[in-house]
């Protein structure tokens, strides 16, 4: 979760799966802002970026290039990649001047993680 996200949530959507036509705001308006983050797009990914901490010098080029704001940064350091939203486009790997990010087949990466 990014730090800029407003903590306050005024919209109770706990049972939204059951909502019929009358329960929603008119015009599909969402009565709060900054909620694109709630839409997890990580499931679209077929390739996963993996970062080599040794090679990375926190230059932030990937941070600026990422179209999904999936490069997590804390205290001027690249912490990790937000896999809930990374779609696996590979731009970060492409722009990295130190070849510190490699794209790996998603299934392979998952299996590797299980081990």
């Amino acid at each position: 979760m990014s730090k800029t996200r407003p903590e306050k949530k005024k919209w109770d959507v706990s049972d939204i799966q059951k909502w019929g036509p009358g329960r929603h705001e008119k015009g599909a308006t969402i009565p709060e802002s900054g909620n694109a983050q709630d839409y997890k797009t990580g499931g679209w990914r077929s390739e996963r970026p993996r970062r080599d901490r040794e090679k990375c010098n926190d230059c932030m080029i990937c941070f600026f290039a990422c179209p999904d704001s999936s490069i997590r940064v804390e205290n001027d350091k690249m912490v990790d990649i937000d896999l809930d939203h990374c779609k696996g486009c590979g731009i970060c790997a492409q722009v990295c001047p130190r070849d510190a990010i490699e794209m790996m087949n998603e299934i392979k990466a998952c299996k590797l993680e299980e081990k």
Partner: protein, 394 residues
């Protein structure tokens, strides 16, 4: 109350001036141009405080209107024909965002061949875009509908955009008598604008136009949209009654003329209703049991009430000023047919298409249509294929 000699467009521009919405986003197009032009003059003269947004196309006019309305401003625009067609994708968005926009549509044929004159191809083509549609016969109804549109659109149980039609040139450009209300009467009638989830309320930020796909609630939102149309059915009548108390001119979904004992009924929409009414009177004087039903509300379509009103008719002739290519008939015909199919008795239905591209319709054309219907009433075999009035064959 004053009686003015004014064009259809002038009457509508005056109605809008009296409502004085916050924003107008407009692009000129024949035959609507006079509305955009007159309103620009009101703004330039300081007669209204409306923010006037001149744009580079109708797609932008509707987009700007959507943005303005979502921001929380009472907004309107106006269009015709190709402009209407260019707005197409944004019309659906305005309706699905449940924005209470209003828009006079000065009906005109769609190209091609290029033609600037009246028919209903533009507005009838947009019948499924989710807007409420009210058709006026003359300048008076254009003026009255333009005012009522705000009350209908902004009703909290409706919150849908409303377009009000008058016939291009025939009404929009012709000078006729119009009973107008006083400015303060109109302002009081439409009332203060109530916003709903406005974008400009920074204390309460909202998201408008979000993605809602597979696994989401698109379907539920669409059902809600159509239920709002159901609600509009009642609200249009309430507003029409209120307008009657104010002006003496009460409105409902349709008007009938001599249909109680009529065996043959003609259904008309728009300016041709005047011609049909005159011919009904002529034929009545000849002892023929003929009547007329004039449709005002096309969306939502008052199918139950119309079925009820036409339940005594043996033969119905529906007059369409637009065609639906490859369909059994024009848009009004298919709606009336669907309405009558749900009834106990099924009258014989015939479609007469007339006036495309501004082609005149003469009393004899209407008489000819009634003769066709009389043949059917007498049990003769009459083709169910759509009939065209005043078209050159050969």
């Amino acid at each position: 109350m004053a009686r003015k000699a004014i064009t259809g467009n002038g009457a509508i521009a005056l109605a809008l001036k009296q409502v004085e919405p916050d924003v107008m986003a407009a692009y000129p197009i024949t035959p609507q141009t006079e509305i955009a032009q007159n309103y620009a003059q009101f703004v330039a003269d300081g007669a209204v405080k409306t923010e006037y947004i001149p744009v580079e196309s109708e797609h932008s006019a509707m987009s700007a209107a959507i943005g303005s309305c979502a921001a929380g401003a009472r907004t309107f625009t106006a269009t015709s024909s190709q402009g209407f067609a260019l707005m197409w994708e944004m019309l659906f968005i305005a309706a699905s965002l449940r924005l209470p926009l209003t828009m006079p549509v000065i009906t005109r044929a769609l190209s091609g061949p290029i033609n600037i004159h009246c028919d209903h191809s533009d507005s009838m083509g947009g019948r499924d875009c989710g807007w409420i549609q009210l058709y006026g016969e003359g300048a008076q109804e254009g003026y009255d509908n333009a005012i009522q549109a705000f009350r209908i659109a902004e009703h909290m149980e409706v919150r849908l955009p409303v377009m009000t039609m008058i016939d291009g040139f025939i009404i929009s450009g012709a000078i006729g008598p119009v009973e107008t209300l006083e400015d303060d009467e109109v302002k009081k009638f439409v009332g203060e604008y109530t916003t709903l989830n406005p974008l400009l309320n920074v204390a309460n930020p909202v998201t408008v136009g979000a993605f809602d796909s597979l696994g989401g609630w698109y379907f539920e939102h669409k059902v809600a949209q159509n239920r709002a149309m159901d609600n509009a059915m009642k609200v249009i009548e309430e507003v029409g009654k209120d307008f009657g108390s104010l002006s003496g001119r009460e409105y409902s979904h349709f008007k009938t003329h001599m249909i109680e004992d009529a065996e043959i009924v003609l259904v008309a929409i728009g300016s041709a209703a005047g011609n049909v009414k005159t011919m009904v009177d002529t034929l009545r004087a000849e002892g023929k049991k003929v009547g007329m039903l004039k449709v005002r509300t096309f969306r939502p379509f008052p199918y139950e009430q119309i079925r009820q009103a036409l339940s005594n008719a043996c033969v119905i002739g529906v007059m369409d000023r637009s065609d639906s290519y490859g369909a059994q008939g024009g848009p009004l015909f298919t709606e009336i047919s669907a309405a009558m199919f749900g009834g106990e008795t099924r009258p014989k239905m015939f479609n007469f298409i007339y006036g495309l591209g501004g082609r005149d319709i003469f009393p004899d054309d209407i008489r000819g249509a009634v003769e066709t219907l009389e043949q059917a009433a007498a049990g003769e075999q009459v083709s169910q294929t759509r009939h065209y009035l005043n078209v050159r064959e050969g």
